[in-house]
């Protein structure tokens, strides 16, 4: 539960950031990347997909099917121009909110 709460609302931001940095990835790749970079933020793996699909419908990312080296079809996601704009905005807002929260935590 704790790890889900920690992720509340930040999952789309993380997805955009990762795709923006690292280029096209499939869903498992994104999960693995989040895990490898942080022990605190662990995604409940399945919940990634509805988020991915909603973002795809919003036009922030786009997907295509590719065949992996072991001959399986995988769905690769990549960030769009609209996604990059959204990423910038989300990132700024996230930083502003966390900074504000941090300030209150320190000064109270």
């Amino acid at each position: 539960m704790a790890r889900q709460d920690a992720l509340q609302g930040s999952l789309p931001l993380l997805i955009l950031k990762i795709l923006g940095r690292l280029g096209p990835l499939h869903g498992y790749g994104i999960t693995a990347r989040i895990e490898s970079m942080s022990d605190v933020l662990r995604v409940e793996e399945g919940s990634l997909y509805p988020a991915l699909h909603r973002m795809e419908e919003s036009g922030f990312i786009r997907a295509r099917w590719v065949t992996t080296e072991n001959k399986r079809r995988a769905r690769m996601y990549e960030i769009t121009a609209a996604g990059r704009k959204q990423l910038e905005e989300e990132e700024r807002r996230w930083l502003a909110v966390t900074a504000a929260v941090g300030q209150i935590l320190q000064n109270v």
């Binding site: 498992y28 399945g46 997909y49 509805p50 399986r72 769905r75």
Partner: protein, 886 residues
């Protein structure tokens, strides 16, 4: 893009789910591989991967909802299901679609006619600003019996108004109700074109642009300007193939030359719907020279743009109008208000006035027919809903919400009306133009673009939508309101409320049908009575030639030319009689004539003015008008020697010469001279209808025809008159002094006089047949269904010893009550609606016994024919077989 993909995904939910599954499965497999690589066993890794992933089913649902329009998907699922249901019950589906299509088609066609003639705005920018000026007419009632507004003004008044109006863009126009003979330079061909005139600023005020060349400008209002003409785009395309070389060519209209200066904007075909204008000439050239300066001549219609919030401009014009009339008043001056009438849909032409009411009547009847079809289909659906009670119960039992069931049933209804709508548009697309071709008189056909356009399409869609709700909602609510418990027990007869609804719908259906039959019957009877009116003359086999003199002939020459002409024609083979008159009977030409007043010697001037008509010897014989006493004209009555010999009709004798010896009676006639002219009655003829079939027969004085120019030559032939047209025409034109400007037959003239009535009678009859067909199908279906449902009850009754006649009575009374209720409601409603028809009806009233009997008898016998066979069958039921069946 996103909405599109969600719509697309709604259409292929299977594919979408397969993709989602594959993607999720890929993730689980990858995780498993990673865990195995970390050292887990295969089976441990599989369950761990699944655990970490969560519920794939739930995730897939949630992704699915994100990627597809859920409501669309559910409707599509219903569509697929409904198509299967509809295909399975072919008979019901076909019956429903056809009856709806017929009714929707009739409605759509009626709307398309109403729209083109009355509702559609002119194709100009901001048509709603357009107004036509008029003022209350004085005195004489028009042909319709009402004092019409006067909408023509003198040209000097127009100039004054135009020059003082601020920002109203007043312009003048004339409207033509007949063709002009037009020739183009370099071609001898004479074309009959509709030519109208506009003042110089007309096109600019209408904000029309030239398609080629230029349009009129204010400079074209000068009488010394070069005469130019503007062609309509349609005529330019038709005659010149849209070639720019048309500009600069010369054309002759009514003997005057005009140079074609331009072509009007495409789509604009004049200010009056119903006719196409082919060309425009500047007003100053169309008008008689005297009109341009006469402050009293009714010369020009004034139109203008009155934008919103320009009340002061209107007030200003009223003042100018009033001042002008006071300045130019001859004798006592009556103040009349200047009126501004909206002209957004074009000229309020006689044509539109003539057909406004008939078309609304047709619209009303077609809506009633749609109501019949709706109740028909509603009944079919209710009956079928009962048969599907188990299906509904089962679906509710496994958790479908009632909303979901109603949605599915409504989708089914929408499919029905959708299919019907498509057929209806096809139907209307064929029939509306067919009706239009019947509207105009035979030699001046109406033009209305009554095809299917966006407005008509929209109307049909809205109609289909409303009918879906009208016929689908109640059955859907009924059918979905099953109690699963009861229905699954297999007893569907307990829902007595269903048969209540059925009876109500049956009543409604009968009521609407009675109303349609009543209205249609009135129209048909009225037309039949009109056609049986005693004309006073025989219309068959009479050819009418309008004759004009080519050059100027003096009186004597005209007289002898006329006599020679008649002599020659009488001698030609196949001609039984020939005569001439100044006006053709029933041609509608009598209206505006100003007749001199008369008095008996020593008496006062009579208030009623008689009608006048000059006729040649032989006219009465040709038209077979009975001579009651005295004599007709003969060749010795030349206008110079015995100008005073006249013949009067019976109505004249009754009105002015009661109790006197009419023959030899002298009558004094008021003329421009101070001394009245004295006329002597030498003969009395029977009354005839002059203008229309409804008129009161008016007192008439026949005078001796003098001259040959502009006469109407009537020739009674031995056989089909059309066979003689060419040879007689040749004969009339042989001398070179005369030419024929128009040929028709007397029967055609009379047919043209009852166009609206004929249209209503034909379509009314057609509508009655459609209504009867629909109601027969509906009654038959409903009654059979009701009988089938009572089979078990009847079986029990018979088993318990009920006599068969009692069973028969029971079955019939089931139907009799709703039919009787419908009859009463229908007669009441129809009689109320018929009051709207009163002005168009002739010698027939909605409350006449015959008017009522026909619809009642036909509906009752239809109901009986539908009810008796199943009732008889029921009364002969073998109780054992029914009861064993359960």
């Amino acid at each position: 893009m996103s909405l599109l993909s969600r719509i697309a995904n709604a259409f292929r939910p299977g594919r979408l789910d397969a993709d989602l599954n594959e993607e999720l499965q890929f993730h689980i497999d990858e995780r498993k591989r990673a865990l195995v690589a970390e050292g887990m066993t295969e089976s441990e890794a599989r369950s761990a991967a699944r655990r970490q992933f969560g519920s794939p089913l739930q995730l897939r649902e949630s992704s699915h909802d994100a990627k597809a329009l859920v409501w669309l998907e559910s409707i599509l699922r219903d569509v697929r299901f409904s198509l299967r249901v509809l295909r399975k019950e072919k008979t019901v589906t076909v019956a429903a679609v056809l009856s709806l299509a017929l009714a929707l088609g009739v409605c759509t066609a009626a709307f398309s006619l109403l729209d083109t003639l009355l509702l559609r705005p002119l194709p100009i920018p901001r048509p709603q600003e357009l107004v036509a000026l008029s003022y209350p007419g004085s005195g004489r009632p028009g042909p319709s019996g009402v004092v019409e507004d006067e909408s023509r003004f003198s040209y000097p008044l127009f100039q004054r108004l135009r020059d003082t109006s601020s920002g109203m863009d007043l312009f003048g126009a004339t409207f033509s109700s007949s063709y002009s003979v037009v020739t183009f330079a370099g071609s001898p061909e004479e074309l009959n074109l509709r030519v109208e005139s506009l003042t110089g600023n007309g096109f600019a005020a209408l904000e029309l642009k030239p398609a080629a060349g230029r349009l009129f400008t204010s400079a074209d209002d000068r009488i010394d300007a070069a005469p130019i003409a503007v062609l309509s785009h349609a005529f330019w395309t038709r005659h010149f193939g849209g070639s720019p070389s048309a500009i600069g060519q010369w054309m002759t209209v009514a003997g005057r030359q005009y140079q074609i200066a331009g072509v009007a904007q495409e789509g604009f075909s004049g200010l009056g719907p119903g006719y196409l204008t082919d060309a425009w000439i500047p007003f100053v050239f169309s008008a008689r020279p005297a009109w341009l300066t006469n402050p009293e001549a009714a010369a020009v219609h004034i139109w203008g743009r009155l934008p919103e919030g320009r009340a002061f401009a209107a007030a200003q014009l009223r003042t100018v109008f009033s001042n002008f009339r006071r300045e130019n008043a001859n004798g006592p001056f009556h103040e009349v208000p200047l009126q501004f009438q909206s002209a957004a849909t074009g000229e309020a032409s006689l044509f539109r006035k003539q057909f406004r009411q008939p078309l609304w009547i047709l619209g009303l009847i077609s809506v009633l027919i749609l109501a019949i079809a709706c109740s028909n289909v509603a009944n079919l659906l209710i009956a079928r809903g009962a048969a599907r009670g188990r299906e509904m119960a089962l679906r509710i039992a496994i958790g479908a919400g009632r909303g979901r069931l109603v949605q599915q049933l409504l989708v089914e209804s929408a499919l029905l009306s959708g299919a019907a709508c498509v057929l209806a548009l096809v139907f209307a697309g064929y029939t509306a133009p067919l009706v239009v071709s019947q509207l105009g008189p035979s030699d001046f056909p109406a033009y209305l673009d009554a095809g299917i356009d966006a407005r008509v399409f929209g109307f049909a869609m809205v109609c289909a939508g409303l009918t879906t709700i009208a016929f689908g909602l109640i059955p859907a609510l009924r059918a979905s309101a099953v109690s699963p418990n009861l229905a699954l027990q297999g007893d569907s007869t307990k829902s007595s409320s269903r048969s209540g609804t059925l009876k109500t719908v049956l009543s409604v259906q009968v009521a609407f049908s009675i109303a349609v039959l009543l209205l249609s019957g009135l129209l048909v009877t009225s037309f039949r009575k009109l056609m049986n009116v005693d004309l006073g003359f025989t219309k068959d086999r009479v050819l009418l030639f309008d004759v004009a003199a080519r050059g100027r002939l003096d009186k004597a020459a005209q007289q002898s030319a006329a006599a020679q002409l008649l002599d020659g024609i009488r001698r030609s083979p196949g001609v039984e009689a020939a005569g001439a008159s100044t006006l053709a009977l029933m041609s509608g030409a009598f209206g505006p004539m100003i007749a001199p007043q008369i008095r008996l010697p020593g008496g006062d001037w009579e208030r009623t003015r008689p009608l006048y008509m000059a006729v040649s010897p032989g006219f009465f014989e040709t038209m077979q008008i009975r001579l009651l006493s005295g004599r007709g004209f003969d060749v010795t009555d030349t206008p110079t020697s015995t100008a005073s010999a006249v013949i009067v009709n019976q109505a004249f004798v009754e009105q002015f010469l009661k109790g006197r010896n009419a023959l030899g009676q002298r009558i004094e006639q008021l003329t421009d001279d101070p001394e009245p002219v004295t006329l002597t009655v030498v003969g009395i003829v029977a009354n005839v209808h002059y203008n229309n079939l409804r008129e009161k027969l008016a007192p008439t004085i026949y005078t001796q025809l003098a001259g040959v120019n502009g006469i109407h030559l009537a020739v009674r032939t031995a056989g089909d008159p059309h066979g003689f047209t060419a040879s007689l025409r040749k004969m009339i034109e042989a001398s070179g002094a005369l030419k024929v400007t128009h040929v028709t037959t007397q029967s055609t003239t009379i047919d043209d006089a009852v166009l609206a009535e004929r249209l209503l009678a034909i379509l009314g009859g057609l509508f009655a047949a459609i209504a009867l067909l629909l109601v027969t199908v509906g009654l038959y279906g409903v009654i059979r269904y009701a009988a089938a449902r009572r089979q078990k009850e009847v079986g029990i009754r018979i088993a318990l010893g009920a006599p068969r006649p009692a069973v028969l009575r029971l079955m019939c009374s089931d139907v009799a009550a709703p039919v009787a209720a419908g009859l009463i409601a229908g007669i009441a409603g129809g009689a109320i609606a018929a009051r709207y028809l009163e002005s168009i009806l002739f010698q027939v009233r909605p409350t006449d016994a015959v008017s009522l009997a026909i619809p009642v008898v036909s509906i009752v016998s239809t109901a009986l024919a539908a009810a008796l066979p199943p009732a008889l069958r029921a009364s002969r039921i073998d109780p054992m077989s029914v009861l064993r069946h359960e």
